[in-house]
Amino acid sequence: MHRHEKIWLTLSTAMIVGFFLIAGYQTFALEMGPPSHSETIDPQKVDEIEPFDEPGVYEVGENKYEVVMTLQIFSFTPNEIEIPAGSEVTFTMTSKDVTHGFQIAGTNVNAMVMPGYISKITQTFNEPGEYLVLCNEYCGAGHQMMSTTITVK
């Protein structure tokens, strides 16, 4: 093999290894990995099963909230959520029909919400303001209408 080729490939490989070591460290040591909750649910009976029989915003501790949410064509329940600044919010979500996406623009909250599965994702809202929540997986003709807001006061 050519000497320059060896140098090039060594540097390239070192760079790639560096990338996945950093990704691995952040994922496993700092717990920054992508949402991977594994609980399942009968997608035909979401309304009858706890906690989705009563979707809503629940205070679960000091500055800690849980939002139990269902996603359905083409809306979020509950919608227009309000929470105090500095709260840590865990979203517990499932779909009542097709595959949806849950994204809060301007944050790293981004999760697929699929029928049959419960998705969980946690975010701390420090900055007051109005956050746009939108469905980012195509779910049908009204997909672009599927949005709501989270107001942080």
Binding site: H2, H4, E5, W8, L9, S12, I16, F19, F20, A23, G24, T27, F28, G33, P34, P35, S36, H37, S38, E39, T40, D42, P43, Q44, I73, D97, V98, T99, G101, Q103, I104, A105, N108, N110, A111, M112, V113, M114, P115, G116, Y117, S119, K120, E130, Y131, L132, L134, C135, N136, E137, Y138, C139, G140, A141, G142, H143, Q144, S147, T148, T149
Partner: protein, 560 residues
């Protein structure tokens, strides 16, 4: 060294392409260019709708044209062009028999029937499910059956390629297979192994379910099978571009192939590492084990290495060729490159686009960083750099010599000039469109969404300017498409008769001989399957064992 070396082939590499062969290869390329026109028009309409200044007439749905755009450009244009190019390379280097040609015609017609079935369902509004057709949205059964026929036809075409090489090797024992034939075999193997996944999803899950024989569908299994196919699909697009870079570009610049072994090694690595990586499209999904997500992320990073090998090899060829021509200095050799030859310029711009394109790809695959961009229009910007610039500009670069070679015409200086204009228009349009998509994607603007003000929120109002920029870029790109269609029609029907060269480069004289183990196909296939089994067995069994009750079909959300 104890490694057995292969003899170089002397006689082959440049067989004549007969008239009946040309007709066959051109048939595939014709479908590709018809697709370019239709798909490009759909793309233009999408960018106009998203600018908020334009509404589709006659009640046409945004998602209907988006489905046409994705299916016809992502699946139809690419597959037909690639098969046509594969066959031209095989015909040139190892030859084709009459029987093989007839079987290929069968493959072509199976694919055409499938394409028409799928296209009809989309045009009737019965299949606005986008090209990923995620369950439980349900399209008309003919949509899935048509897709299955396209895949089956493409398999038959691939089997013919394997047979061509097999027959050639029988006639040339102990001789190293031509590099072009080796590369085509790798890419058809990659395609076959990968499309088994989507074929399984379509045949076992979607068709019975869409016909009503199965009441429910396992959503996560269908997505996993789709993405088992979906990522190698992009390498199936990319490898023909790499073939042109390794084989054709050196000849056009008056040089030789830097290293036959390096080229073969990079293709083998693509076969290994492009398949066991589908989870990086499913990083934010529930139900997939997080450890296995990360393992597939690591495997995804491995596939960067053969691309970096390719980059080295190409620039080595550029430099060696320049120095041989007497251009000195650290970068003086850069000047010798034939900038005014569109057969070089268009693919070269494609290579440059792959630098930001590849870097963006690493970001997308970077596990937790994926949350920043997943399903945002950044991703759309990304693959418009990779497939819609790198790959397509290289395909255009191939078209400028392949089409006149097959039709017995010449690329005139005037058409060459138009080609250069085309490449520049494309570069400008794509920089604007893809650039705007990348930026606004980082702000959170979603992909695959019709125009929306999202209840008038401030965040979404900041996106509108970028959407206007996308429409400007999209319009410029559509002008580029019209120009390309004009050039294609000229080269096919009107350019002056003559003989256009089929440029395939030879190896450097002092290059190291290629080791014999490169011909050990059983080994490459075994390693590929072992890697797939390693990456998928445990998480896939886990997905099936922990499956929720299935999902019933949904027709009304897509207006059925």
């Amino acid at each position: 060294m104890g490694i057995a070396k292969l003899e170089d082939a002397k006689s082959s590499q440049s067989l004549p392409i007969t008239k009946p062969e040309s007709r066959l290869y051109m048939s595939f390329i014709h479908v590709a260019f018809i697709s370019l026109l239709i798909g490009g028009l759909m793309g233009l309409l999408q960018t106009l709708v998203r600018s908020g200044k334009f509404e589709l007439p006659w009640g046409i749905d945004y998602y209907q044209i988006l489905t046409v755009h994705g299916v016809i450009l992502g699946l139809v244009l690419t597959t037909y062009f690639i098969i046509g190019f594969h066959f031209a390379l095989m015909g040139k280097t190892v030859g084709i028999s009459e029987k093989q040609r007839k079987v290929t015609w069968l493959a072509f017609w199976v694919m055409v029937v499938g394409t028409i079935m799928t296209a009809t369902t989309i045009l009737l509004g019965e299949a606005s499910v986008l090209y990923t057709f995620y369950a439980p949205l349900r399209a008309h059964p003919a949509f899935y059956i048509g897709l299955a026929l396209v895949i089956i036809g493409s398999w038959v075409a691939g089997f013919v390629n394997w047979r061509q090489l097999y027959v050639w090797k029988k006639q040339n024992p102990g001789v190293k297979s031509p590099l072009a034939a080796f590369m085509v075999t790798i890419n058809t193997l990659l395609w076959f192994i990968a499309s088994l996944g989507v074929a399984a999803a379509v045949l076992i899950q979607f068709i019975p379910w869409s016909l009503g024989y199965a009441e429910t569908i396992n959503v996560l299994v269908s997505r996993t099978l789709f993405w088992y196919f979906g990522h190698p699909l992009v390498y199936f697009w990319l490898l023909p571009a790499y073939m042109a870079w390794y084989l054709v570009i050196p000849k056009i610049i008056g040089g030789k192939i830097f290293s036959d072994s390096l080229a073969r090694m990079s293709f083998v690595l693509f076969l290994f590492f492009s398949i066991p990586v589908g989870f990086h499209h499913q990083l934010t999904e529930p139900g997939v084990d997080p450890t296995w997500k990360f393992i597939q992320v690591v495997l995804t990073f491995m596939v960067v290495i053969p691309s970096l090998m390719t980059a080295f090899s190409l620039f080595a060829t550029f430099e060696i060729t320049g120095r041989k021509k007497g251009y000195g200095g650290l970068f003086g050799w850069f000047k010798h490159l034939p900038w005014k030859d569109v057969r070089f310029l268009a693919p070269f711009i494609g290579m440059l686009a792959f630098i930001p394109g590849g870097a963006g790809g690493i970001i997308n695959a970077s596990h937790q960083m994926n949350a920043v961009v997943h399903n945002t229009i950044w991703v759309t910007g990304h693959f418009h750099l990779t497939v819609a610039t790198t790959v397509i500009l290289t395909f255009f670069g191939i078209t400028y010599w392949l089409v006149p070679h097959l039709t017995g015409r010449k690329l005139t200086p005037q058409l060459n000039k138009l080609g250069i204009v085309q490449a520049i228009i494309w570069t400008v349009g794509m920089t604007i469109m893809s650039g705007a998509m990348h930026i606004v994607g980082l702000f959170g603007a979603p992909r695959r969404s019709s125009y929306s003000e999202y209840g008038g929120t401030e965040q979404a109002s900041e996106w509108i300017g970028y959407q206007l920029a996308q429409a400007v870029g999209g319009t410029i790109l559509f002008i580029g498409i019209l120009l390309m269609i004009y050039i294609f029609v000229k080269l096919t029907f009107f350019a002056p008769k003559g003989e256009e060269e089929f440029p395939i480069a030879e190896e450097e004289e002092d290059a190291e001989p290629t080791p014999a183990f490169f011909e050990n196909w059983k080994l490459w296939i075994a390693i590929t399957i072992a890697l797939i089994l390693f990456a998928y067995t445990i998480p896939f069994v886990d997905i099936i064992q922990n499956s929720p009750p299935g999902s019933k079909p949904f027709d009304f959300p897509i207006g059925r």
